[in-house]
Symmetry: C2
Subunit: 349 residues, 2 copies
């Protein structure tokens, strides 16, 4: 399978121009492009520019809203309910994270529920925003059903991802970012683009039977059986139900379906300085990470990795040598380039 | 293997008397006994009265502190740092949950970090406290290493449990409560008491090799590989490191070890009324749970369960017919009864 490499800034600029072309402000288009390419840089290609064609289709059918009016509907010194008006996920979520960080600076914690956002990209981005401001950051999201709850042969929950990050000193801030499914759907799509099968245990087909055919995969499976399944369900109770915008129930019991592509989300920040000395905290995190890395590796491993470490290595390599995109993704982006008249950068030779 | 059944109130009264006998106030002893028997009632025997002998040993070696002076060290309208002074876990954690609920009532969210608590029992108890007050409740805890991080053959993180609960209407509030390991150590201990092996994938022995011998199990394994492993690590960063009381690092890098049995914990509450109408919320939760239960069961399942449902069924049965304790646990409690001169209830016939 052929892959072509693209310089990350050129790729980001291209994607920003694409979104500006379909009606988003330069600033919002740039924010969206930045978060997508950030995911690619870290090797999370499932949440990268692969998504652009689907986003454009979503915009065209009236989902993602170029003229969204983001507003804070309810607020206290510690919480916010933010109506996203179907804004680009990264636009409203960076705003929400700034909002909760400002609250955390005052009262130690900020907690926001975002209603009616659209796809937010890699949630680790927002958690890391807090870590870079000496805060702990937390972010999760809910969507309509795409995963079978433990014990079911049909979709009932979303494979809601969860991201947590905290500040470090000399080390990179640890960033935990995973979906409650064995794998995110983006990884299934990537397997389709790459023309390879998916591992057993990742998905069911449309009839609820296990499959390894990426093209036939329709329903994801939770990791850890009832454990991640219940976490996904509780995320819906803390986000969608908390803002009276249920995303699962209309699919489970019937009724008006939410606008396709809509999701609800929680972001939170905890200010380290409210609890302890920031310099001490960062030093303690460094030591903790160094301690984990000092453990003897299990059979089949050459080292013990800490959360985000692998992604940071990929990022260093891709900053230097470009982002590799599979042929399928490149072909899709070329269609976008042609149809919108936005010049796509040349691949690196 | 023989099991004997005990009436739950009689068992709770016995355990309360045991703890009062070794120096705890009647009130604190009763709180501890209540949380232990609550776990047994729900079938979580790993966190029930099985623990009494270990608690007594812990008290004797100066761990759990009968005369603890619990104090709020730092506070804002939204957060609290609570020094537990090695109090009984349920005593300080119910206090902490009351504290964050009071804050949530004012500003929508309350977040507390508890430093230097001792074993807190089943964390679901505290999350449910919030749900019963029309709030979402969240609780997690960290301890010294007992679980191998993903990719390691030695202990490096704790199998930190996480509990979340939210209010429901006619249905029981859903209660998610699980450890980040494949199984909690209490379940390994229960297998020892029952004289049965543990499943593959639960644990490593002292040398870091996989084992199914419950007696040889020394190091737990995370569920979902890197996913639950990283969650456990992040819990340490949000609890222990946040209150400058690292529990993992001294074991990883050397240095003064924390007092045995000490743990740090986070509890949080989110007030539903701050975000939406409470009656609507509860109705929406009922519908969500009913929707999940309406899904077709997977092969090998007869129904789809929601978080806490199985435990509530066990509770109804055990309220009516008593709590079954394995012979090993009963023998241990009889030793306690004799040595402290506290009469143990007769088993139900």
């Amino acid at each position: 399978m052929t892959e072509l490499r693209f310089e990350h800034e050129a790729l980001e600029e291209f994607v920003a121009q694409v979104f500006a072309k379909v009606g988003f402000s330069q600033e919002d288009a740039a924010t969206e492009a930045h978060v997508l390419v950030w995911a690619n840089l870290r090797g999370v290609d499932s949440h990268g520019v692969l998504r652009v064609p689907a986003y454009l289709a979503n915009i065209e059918r009236g989902g993602m809203n170029p003229k969204a009016e983001i507003r804070i509907e309810k607020e206290t010194p510690a919480i916010a309910l933010i109506e996203a008006d179907r804004a680009f996920g990264p636009v409203v979520t960076t705003f929400a994270m700034e909002t909760v960080m400002a609250k955390a600076r005052e009262v130690g914690v900020g907690w926001a529920v975002i209603r009616n956002t659209t796809h937010q990209g890699a949630m680790g981005y927002y958690a890391l925003m807090a870590a870079e401001q000496d805060m702990a950051g937390l972010a999760f999201v809910c969507n309509p059903p795409n995963m079978a709850p433990f014990g079911a042969r049909a979709a009932g929950v979303h494979n809601s991802p969860l991201a947590i990050s905290v500040p470090a000193g000399e080390m990179d801030p640890p960033v935990m970012d995973w979906a409650t499914s064995m794998a995110a759907f983006g990884k299934v799509n990537l397997a389709v683009d790459k023309g390879i099968p998916i591992p057993e245990g990742w998905a069911l087909d449309a009839e609820g039977n296990p499959t390894t055919d990426a093209k036939a995969a329709r329903i994801l499976l939770p990791f850890g059986g009832y454990k991640a399944s219940s976490l996904a369900l509780m995320f819906e109770t803390l986000s969608s139900v908390m803002v009276s915008n249920a995303l699962l129930t209309p699919y489970l019991l019937g009724g008006d379906k939410p606008t396709p592509g809509i999701q609800n989300s929680v972001v939170a920040a905890i200010d380290v300085a409210t609890f302890t000395d920031v310099a001490t905290y960062k030093q303690d995190i460094d030591r903790l990470l160094q301690g984990i890395k000092s453990l003897p590796p299990a059979e089949g491993f050459t080292e013990v990795l800490v959360p985000g470490e692998l992604e940071n290595r990929v990022k260093a390599e891709r900053m230097a040598h470009g982002i590799p995109l599979p042929e399928g993704t490149v072909a899709n982006l070329r269609v976008v380039s042609t149809s919108l008249g936005v010049t796509m950068p040349d691949p690196l030779s």
